[in-house]
Symmetry: C2
Subunit: 165 residues, 2 copies
Amino acid sequence: MGRTADYTNERCSIAATLEVVGDPWTLLILRDAFAGVKRFEQWQERLGVARNVLASRLKSLVAHGVMEAQRYSERPPRQEYVLTPKGLDLSPLLLTMAEWGDQHVYGIGKGPVHFVHKTCGCDFHPRLACEACGEVIDRRDLRRVVHETSQTVGEALEAVKIPAE
Amino acid sequence: MGRTADYTNERCSIAATLEVVGDPWTLLILRDAFAGVKRFEQWQERLGVARNVLASRLKSLVAHGVMEAQRYSERPPRQEYVLTPKGLDLSPLLLTMAEWGDQHVYGIGKGPVHFVHKTCGCDFHPRLACEACGEVIDRRDLRRVVHETSQTVGEALEAVKIPAE
DNA sequence: AGAGTCAGTTGTGATAAAAAACCTAATGCC
DNA sequence: GGCATTAGGTTTTTTATCACAACTGACTCT
């Protein structure tokens, strides 16, 4: 009801993803997690995000099973946040975003970070391939099929949410 | 300042992409654009988004060159919004988001929409492939290289922005 | 003439995010 | 012992942005 875009009544996998990682800051938190950041203060310093917002985002990512809080000290209670397999599966999303930003904002090769494909030695640029046949696809090679599903994003998320302890 | 995360001082292609399409609603607007929506009232009805927010998002997408406003009536002034090539290049991003939502929220095959790869006939699931060698990659096949770039997101965006007339 | 459509603009108020201060418990250092 | 510092947050206050709804033009349809 309040202010935010509420994606929970949509019936859409894109909206479902947005509901988990679509908050402001969340994707930058994840980007840094992929770069090796694990602790509150590191994120706070690198992003300059408000501490309350950072705390709430980390809590939400844990609740959604994208990150896991691991104790590394009992007293004082200290925890590190590490990506779960579900979180690691977001890497294609981040790489795809980086590619678009590179191509259309910075200009190819002018972006601040790029990747090298170790097995072929070339600069890495992602393309989408079909898992089944391995072929690189074009948008027009796809046919969209609508499935009758009664679940909204909210309902589907309820089923995978990790209860706070 | 206010509420939003301000990505413009980051030096990062992911942040650059977020600055263009990271607003609440924007990606759903684009999703619907890929599904064929072109007009204000169609988006408004399908998304239930506030009209002022929709107007501002469309304006921003046009300013960033992701959509183009095409006149189809002079009086009264009416326009349709269509995706530019830059906007069409966001399709991998949307497909990747849909795939993650499918796998980790709805469950594989239970999502509301899926795609069929016409050339091989199979259900389409995207994987990232290396443009150079065509091989499907794993996250660990990549080496991250940091580039010395002085441009922030804000500076880079300034250079590609389309001036309002 | 009156009702309806399309594409917005213009208020007003609610609320989540930002900023900054504060807290707790431990640890380092002289 | 006493004081500063660090880590990981929570609390309080302020503010920018969103939601809601009403309104505006310029037409079209009946």
